[in-house]
């Protein structure tokens, strides 16, 4: 029997976080709440540091939204969304059979969600990547990536007085910074303002994969993957001695490789 199941609660409204904690204590006494995050950034950092088995994420939070936090999870943490009302999200969750709980939380509904979570934790040793694939699709859809029908062939980046034109085939990966997106080629690095969510919609999905909230990679430059001792997955590139993490929602992409 593995050690106790651990969980994180992220909600910017402290009364609600506290209430969820109490409800969880009643319904699942063995569950250990290892952290209470008050915004999306804290949640992302604590999930990375503590790697809980479960994360209860509010959707509308200061900093990163619950959806963005979910898109950046690198370990094995499973997500249960907790939200008051998000018309589009709820529809998408329902459609993709993702776990979610509505606020005000009803004990019965929470118990049901927990039963499902327990079932999937018990049987999640290996194999079924379908739930993660659904999560990835749903998050991409909700975070605004919609195919525009136009495929981007060149990236234009200005640097002082210069404007560089970079063919997308040359790009090894795109990586989101605080404000900019870094365009990495085998030899150089450029900064552009287009966010990842917009780029992913304009790039050919056959050659470019989003593997993280902040990363899109070019499969043509991919050398392989590495799994670390904490079973986190990283992608490696031919021309660069650098590794980038793959978030849980996108690990399934590499399972069939």
């Amino acid at each position: 029997m593995p050690s106790a199941v651990t969980a994180l609660i992220a909600d910017d409204e402290p009364h609600l976080a506290q209430y969820l904690k109490e409800q969880l204590a009643q319904l699942w006494p063995e569950l250990a709440i290892v952290a209470m995050a008050r915004n999306g950034n804290e949640a992302a950092a604590q999930i990375a540091a503590l790697r809980p088995d479960l994360a209860f994420l509010d959707i509308q939070m200061p900093g990163l939204s619950g959806l963005e936090v979910a898109q950046g999870i690198e370990g094995e943490t499973r997500v249960v969304f907790v939200t008051a009302y998000d018309e589009y999200a709820l529809e998408a969750f329902e459609h993709a059979a993702l776990d979610y709980v509505l606020k005000p939380v009803k004990t019965e509904r929470l118990a049901k969600a927990l039963a499902r979570v327990r079932l999937s934790l018990a049987g999640a040793a290996e194999g079924d990547a379908e739930p993660d694939a659904r999560l990835a699709r749903t998050l991409q859809q909700l975070l605004g990536a919609q195919a525009t029908g136009q495929t981007l062939r060149y990236i234009r980046a200005s640097q002082g007085e210069l404007m560089h034109q970079i063919a997308v085939d040359e790009v090894v990966y795109f990586h989101a910074d605080e404000k900019y997106t870094c365009v990495q080629t085998a030899t150089a690095e450029y900064l552009i303002r287009t966010p990842i969510t917009e780029l992913v919609a304009q790039l050919d999905p056959q050659s470019f994969w989003q593997v993280h909230r902040s990363t899109i990679i070019n499969l043509a430059h991919l050398a392989g993957t590495r799994r670390d001792e904490l079973s986190r997955l990283y992608v490696r590139f031919r021309a660069l001695a650098r590794e980038l993490p793959v978030s849980r929602a996108y690990v399934h992409l590499f399972k069939s490789m």
């Binding site: 409204e13 009364h15 609600l16 200061p62």
Partner: protein
């Protein structure tokens, strides 16, 4: 859907083409008969009065029956032609004609009524020849009747009918628009995310901090009641609007805890000002939703009201994310609330009122100026 009496419904159906009949046939026939009798009698009385033979034997035996027969025939012809067209024309065409309010529909109805009147007259003359045992056709041609006159009269009546129905229709559209705008305002006031999160907070506090739960519920009730009252009125006092802001902000403070601090400052003169309802509230909600709620450490919101040079000056200042923060998904409606306020200011005050949004360091400041009015 406006509730019309079955009589009104049948009356309008009697004259206008409609895709489907909602009135039973016997009722329509009753209406046709009634219309024919009343119009015929009225015209008969008018003709008798004009010809100074009202009540004379000739009037009783000829003028009155002739007019009643004519009008009955015209009325039945309308009914007959209408039912014929309804059976013959495709449904889509009928819907277009029934719903149309433009000149083409007016033209159609003009020819339609001219045709029905002419046919009705012809039938009436034939019926009279048989019923009153007279040569009605000859009498008719002897009277000084001219076709151009008939056509001109028809056109004038058609234009008048068209204009009046168009006017009625426009008024109905205007009423519809006004109630739609009110509905949108109401929807914005009880935004579901706010509603459910507030209720969730009350739920979470009932067991652990009952007094706070009670205060929140009271503030929420005050807020809802004030919203509903203001929606139904044309103007409110600034004091009312500020009370509402107070309820709203104390609710948000209970929810956001140490992440929100607020202050409301208003002079006595300002508190007595009258202004259109719900001008200030959307500005405060914007400051919370776009400025403070998404900011990690939260912040302050300050509301100030003063009177200077005949103008009421309202400012809503927050030290939140500011105007050029990247737009976040799931937080919509920023521009809509401002556009709504500007439109309402423009229609009520014209150039004498203004709303400006400025970057504050840090955060955002909204400045609203309206003429100072009390009563």
């Amino acid at each position: 859907m406006n509730a019309t009496s079955p009589f009104k419904q049948a009356w309008s159906e009697h004259w206008r083409l409609q895709a489907e009949s909602r009135t039973p046939l016997w009722f329509l026939l009753l209406i046709s008969t009634g219309a024919g009798l009343v119009l015929g009698a009225a015209i008969g009385v008018l003709a008798g009065w004009l010809g100074e033979q009202l009540g004379a034997a000739h009037w009783w035996s000829y003028t009155l029956p002739a007019n009643v027969i004519t009008m009955l025939c015209v009325s039945y012809t309308f009914q007959l032609v209408r039912r014929g067209l309804q059976a013959a024309l495709p449904r889509a065409t009928l819907q277009r004609l029934g719903g149309a309010r433009d000149w083409r529909a007016a033209l159609f109805y003009m020819f339609y009524s001219m045709f029905c009147v002419a046919l009705g007259f012809a039938i009436a003359l034939w019926v009279m020849s048989w019923a009153l045992q007279i040569d009605a056709w000859r009498i008719f041609t002897l009277q000084n009747f001219s076709i151009p006159q008939f056509i001109v009269t028809s056109i004038v009546i058609s234009v008048l009918v068209h204009l009046s129905s168009r006017w009625r229709w426009q008024r109905q559209q205007q009423r519809l628009k006004a109630s739609e705008a009110q509905l949108r305002l109401l929807q914005a006031q009880i935004e579901p995310h706010f509603l459910f999160n507030t209720l969730a907070n009350v739920q979470s506090l009932i067991d652990v901090d009952a007094p706070l739960a009670k205060r929140m519920l009271e503030a929420f009730t005050d807020y809802l009641r004030a919203s509903l009252q203001q929606l139904r009125s044309d103007s409110c006092s600034l004091a009312q609007e500020l009370d509402m802001a107070q309820s709203y902000l104390s609710l948000m403070q209970a929810r956001m805890a140490d992440r929100l601090a607020f202050r409301i400052e208003a002079s006595e003169a300002a508190r007595g000002a009258r202004l259109p309802p719900l001008l200030l509230q959307p500005l405060i909600e914007n400051a919370i939703h776009h400025g403070l709620e998404p900011k990690l450490e939260g912040g302050h919101i300050v509301i100030e009201a003063s009177v200077a040079q005949g103008q009421l000056r309202l400012t809503v200042r927050d030290d939140g994310l500011g105007l050029d923060a990247p737009r976040r998904s799931g937080r919509r409606g920023h521009g809509m609330a401002l556009a709504n306020i500007r439109a309402r200011l423009q229609s009520r005050y014209g150039e004498r009122a203004s709303l400006q949004l400025q970057a504050a360091e840090p955060g955002t400041q909204a400045l609203l100026e309206v003429p100072y009015e009390t009563n």
